[in-house]
């Protein structure tokens, strides 16, 4: 199996802007249609009015009104044009970024050819990823960081980071920004109106995913009516919006209706319905649905990338005190904690790294063993060699002659 590029996993990166684009086009067209209909109706009225006694001046005045309306439509269209251009430009930048993430050359060789799907090793050729430049790497990491910050709700940091590194085209900040007023209205104003509006706009997708968000929002509105003691209004509301789900949601409906009837007695077993926690739960549910509907996906990519990285780097030696390397993430307390449940990597081939130079010891720079069992690279030992042909071991200070050193063969 040849290794594919990690670009394959950029589904949200490609899909979300398309979704946004389709939605905004749809909204613009809907409004435009409405405007056209208004003009049409105005024309109808005008025609009817002028049938009997056609008056040129009156007609011209009415036509002026319609012209003003049309000018307003034109202005709206021009705004929409600017927005559309930005969206197109952003998508173009995303495609550019995708190209940057693809290495110039295709992977040269294939290892471990396997055809049957149930076969074992998933060996892969690396090397294609490494040819990506450092700046592109940084951009990619910044993108994932902004996504993480937005999902966790750290929007200020996300905003500043986006501006600082010019990531506006590459991150989906707009999705989260559009959600903020809805979240605020749920939490602070205890109002479901904006959220229900959002549900209406996205009803096709929500229905496909069998979402209960709308029902929960309606239920919350019903409960609010109970609290405001609007008993009859609440009953009507319940009949209109909640009874449809009676089959599956009988339990909570029973409790709510009992709460309605018994409200003045403040029965303790129904107090949970009036808890602020319900609003917070609604917010969480809304956030989840938002992630699914917008195609951002419920999983946090940064989590998975870190898992993947920790799987790659999790060597058992990193946990040994003698093997501390400040550049190795797995030597840090934080990463060791995060990797608690992950298995330690198993490698196929040995890699020897010289403790002195940090260079890999290979055919060009072979490892030499000292009589005390310490191994260093040939180049480092040459640099450490004194004029008298002796070398002092960097670890133990034992002194040996160059002739006592020998090549060691590690496959």
């Amino acid at each position: 199996m040849a290794g594919k590029a990690s670009v394959e996993f950029e589904f949200p990166f490609c899909k979300v802007p398309i979704e946004t684009f389709v939605k905004s086009n749809r909204t613009v067209q809907k409004n435009l249609d409405k405007d056209y209909t208004v003009v049409n109706n105005a024309m109808n009225t005008l025609i009817d009015r002028e049938k009997a006694n056609p008056d040129v001046e009156k007609t011209c005045n009415s036509l002026d009104k319609i012209i003003t309306k049309l000018r307003g439509v034109k202005r709206k269209l021009q705004e929409a044009e600017a927005e559309s251009d930005t969206q197109l430009e952003h998508f173009h930048k995303r495609i550019e970024h995708l190209w940057q993430l693809l290495p110039a050359d295709q992977p040269a060789t294939e290892q471990a050819p396997t055809s049957s799907a149930s076969s074992t090793s998933c060996a892969v050729v690396v090397g294609s990823e490494e040819r990506i430049s450092a700046t592109v790497h940084q951009t990619r990491i910044q993108r994932q960081l902004v996504d993480y910050l937005l999902r966790r709700g750290y929007s200020k940091t996300a905003d500043t980071l986006t501006k600082r590194y010019n990531l506006q085209a590459l991150v989906d900040i707009a999705v989260f920004h559009s959600a903020q007023p809805i979240i605020d209205s749920l939490l602070r104003k205890h109002s479901c109106t904006e959220a229900l509006q959002w549900c209406k706009e996205n009803q096709v997708r929500l229905k496909k995913n069998k979402s209960m968000l709308e029902f929960h929002l309606r239920l919350q509105e019903f409960i609010s009516m109970i609290q405001k003691k609007e008993k009859f209004k609440a009953l009507e509301y319940c009949q209109k919006y909640l009874s449809g789900q009676a089959a599956t949601q009988l339990g909570i409906l029973k409790s709510s209706l009992s709460a309605l009837v018994l409200y003045s007695f403040h029965p303790p077993q129904y107090q949970f319905l009036f808890d602020h926690q319900r609003w917070e739960d609604l917010v969480e549910e809304f956030k989840k649905e938002l992630l699914v509907v917008s195609q951002l996906g419920p999983n946090i990519p940064l989590h998975m990338l870190l898992q993947s990285g920790m799987l790659a780097l999790n060597a058992p030696q990193a946990y040994e005190s003698g093997e501390f390397n400040p550049n190795d993430p797995m030597c840090s307390q934080e990463f060791q904690q995060l990797a608690e449940d992950l298995p330690k990597a198993n490698r196929k081939n040995s890699t020897l790294v010289c403790r002195v130079s940090g260079e890999v010891m290979d055919g060009d720079n072979p490892p030499l063993v000292l009589p005390n069992g310490r191994v260093y690279s040939t180049q480092s030992l040459k640099k450490l060699r004194d004029v008298d042909g002796t070398v002092c071991c960097p670890a133990t200070n034992d002194r040996y002659h160059w002739s006592q050193l020998h090549k060691v063969y590690v496959m």
Binding site: C60, F91, H92, T160, S308, E334, T351, V356, K407
Partner: protein, 385 residues
Amino acid sequence: MAAVVAECETCFTEGVSKKQKHSVKRQIEIIDELIASFTATKASLREKKETVDEALHRLQAETKKGQDESTQLHKDCQAETANLSKVVDANFQTLSPYMEWEGDEKTLDTVVAHHLFQQGDLDIYNAFLEESGQAASQEFTDAFSEIFNCLESLHNKDTGPALTWCTEHQKTLTQLPHSENLTSVIFQLHKLHFLTLLQQGQRNNAVAYIKTHITPLCTQSKSVVYRSEIGSLSSCLLWSGRMETSPYRHLLTDDLWSTACTSFRLVACAALQVPKDSHLSVCVKAGYLLLPTLMKYLSIRHKFGTASGAELQMPDFGSEFQFRSTFVCPVIQQISTSNNPPMLLPCYHVISRSALQSLMRSNHRLKCPYCPTECLAEKCKQLHL
């Protein structure tokens, strides 16, 4: 994937983008045409060129036509977008997790904070600390503060603080490879300061500088490189004040400054035992490298369960991820740890201690799995990699 991205690009540029731009323009044109028509109708009505009824019906028909065209334009655009969407759906995937994320959120926030700090975005770091409700980790930031100070001055083309730091640490960083790299950095910094003096036309100061600081480095270090550099630097003296016209004007680029910054940062981080790149970026980079293999492994495991016998084999990562020696015993196919260290056989081949013990026969002799040499078990030494 190159073909896929190319297809997306064509679909987008030739399809979506073109249609959208055309559609938007045309929509505005339609409205313009209607406005023009309505305005013209007023004139024609006043000039009695047509009756009110005729005019109004005509205008109504034009409006309807405009609306129909508008709807069609929209449909065409949505069709193109749907095509693009299909291409994306068919060829891209989302990441699926290896397992549920069990990591502590606070710990991850700390990791992110460290990353933001190391990037040098102090204000973003502080904003993040505030938003995530974390306290600043003083010991982490302190270790970096001296490096950042030096780097900031270097960005402002001032080599002072960096040179001070280097000379201070010259006494302590006597071991390889620090000492070598440190000398190289010091040389680069002196060279940059010398060039700055020359650009300002301070020839005498430049001469004094090269004598005091740069020539001694030449005698100290064993490297021949410095000697040849000094040759070209001395020649630069002839163009004091007008370096731009000299054949050495390539030395005036910012590249030298950025190289010096990078070299300094690497040496300083190594010396202070702090990571040169944020752990987050290293881990994510490694994560991306493993990603295709991991996703393939996960999809197989998902389809066929653990009975499939699929194993996650680590690919060979580049040297930037080699933090230490890893010896994989070819006999037991496992990484050596301090509990099971590598052992050197008299024939200079290496196997792990447990492999040695299992290969050992009752007479304490064993045969090397690589070459036909036999030896006594006691003759085998523990290797320190």
